[in-house]
């Protein structure tokens, strides 16, 4: 028995969310005060305020939560985490909800469908080269996921190139094999914790 052990109460989904977060997010402490929703820069564009999501997590409304666009509108500004009177690690919970939504394939149907695609494209480059490749990221992300918007973004790309703020080719780290081995092992650990 340990003094720090928490009682196993709450919905199955609540424990899924807490368990999928690397460091205990203290989600059970939420007072429903709304400081997070009030502080959020993109709060008005969210289908549910973070506080609402936490109530729904406690109530076990798994699918509604994972289909919500809320986590995808999180800009990682940490205002909520900083101000939360109960020290809930809200930003970390948002990351967890994004991962669970991707796993279930719900993210593709939300009104923020672009967000996971952007994250995934970003990751592909990092996995291949070890560093981010902005020109490649923008080109591939827009051509593959938002072909119609490519025209809009093109002048920005051209401006970046003209000012030498984009590389034409990616920069690869020397020990890319080492990085890929580490990421592969991390992937295994994630799959079989």
């Amino acid at each position: 028995m340990s003094a720090s052990k928490k009682p196993a109460r709450g919905s199955v989904f609540f424990h899924e969310v807490v368990g999928a977060t690397a460091v205990d997010p203290h989600l059970e402490a939420c007072l429903q005060c709304g400081t997070c929703g009030g502080s959020c820069p993109s709060g008005n564009d969210m289908e549910h305020t973070p506080r609402t999501l936490f109530a729904m997590i406690a109530a076990g409304m798994r699918e509604t939560v994972l289909r919500s666009n809320t986590p995808w509108y999180c800009v990682s500004c940490y205002y909520c985490t900083e101000r939360c009177p109960q020290e809930v690690h809200i930003t970390d919970v948002m990351y967890t909800l994004k991962r669970l939504a991707i796993k279930e394939g719900f993210s593709r149907q939300s009104s923020a469908a672009q967000a996971p695609a952007f994250s995934e494209t970003f990751m592909e480059h990092v996995e291949r080269y070890g560093r981010s490749f902005e020109l490649g990221l923008i080109t591939r992300y827009f051509l593959r996921h938002r072909p119609l918007d490519t025209v809009k973004i093109a002048p920005i790309g051209a401006g970046m190139l003209r000012r030498k703020r984009f590389d034409l080719t990616p920069r690869k780290i020397r020990q890319i094999d080492q990085l890929q081995a580490i990421l592969a092992r991390a992937d295994e650990l994630e799959r079989s914790p």
Partner: protein, 341 residues
Amino acid sequence: MQYGYYPGCSLERNAGAYHDSTMAVAGVLGLQFTEVDDWNCCGATEFFSVHQMQAYALTGRNLALAADQFAPKAALPVIPVEAAETPQLVAPCSACYLNLSKVDRYLASSPELAAKVNTALDAGGLHYDPGSLRVRHLLDVVVNDAGYDAIAARVQRALTGLRVAPYYGCLVVRPGFQGQFDDPEYPTTLDKLMRVLGAKVVDFPLKAHCCGGHMTQISEDVALELLRRLLKNAAEYQADVIVTLCPMCQLNLDVFQSAVNRRFGTNFNLPVLFFTQLMGLAFGLAPERLGIGKEFVASRPALAKIGTSGEVEQERAVGKRAKRRNDQSLPMPYMPEEEER
């Protein structure tokens, strides 16, 4: 003073100006930055959204490489290892700073997580003991290690006449995974630095609000509105230039400023520079060495004001202490830090 230096992907290219000016200013202040060998991307805000263990492992590799490279060497066997100071790792990019400090802190707080991450790192022959590095942001090192006095002593061409809106953004001041060197809600170190350089610092209530981060790529509706708020606030206080300390903030405010103007029918024309660029100018360095000219919104017209009297027609005093007080007005609360000004 010796530091490990983690530039991050942005400083390699899109924020090359930040890297160049950082190096130039560090040289003047005697800060020695040694780049982490073969570092990789920190994962920005993207990896955590998709793959948790990979996100920790990715940053874990950077920490492991840096800890190894900058570990106190046993060259002097007389001095016990504990007595040597923890090596410091400096990141100029807010997101890199956040990820490096967050991973180090979380590994320290959860031995379980640390064990997992080290299992992953082991696949590449690496290992990281949390706490072996002290991660710091460039601004912290500049104002607290080099210090305001040393900076003031190096100023050759004071930025008088330039009205600066200091913009901190989010991740440098929040949530302070390795302690906070400034207030998370109303930071003031950059204000003070700009004042030391001779610039006129304008009020900028939104100085720690969000630029939208990657939202410019995901939802223009969200991102452009966030940018509009910031630009409007800086413009209302008649800033000539916004000064920032994060490549993402610079990119969003600078590159997407024209998009904001198009969307909202505004005509903001606010150049966005890195604080190191303004330091370099004040130190008398050539603008070319500082990457000035790479910004989308040209800064030359604003910088031409340096040395002028910098009068503006009227000070906007939104909610501030009224200049001329009638007899009936009530006193404002006492604020200790106002004494310093």
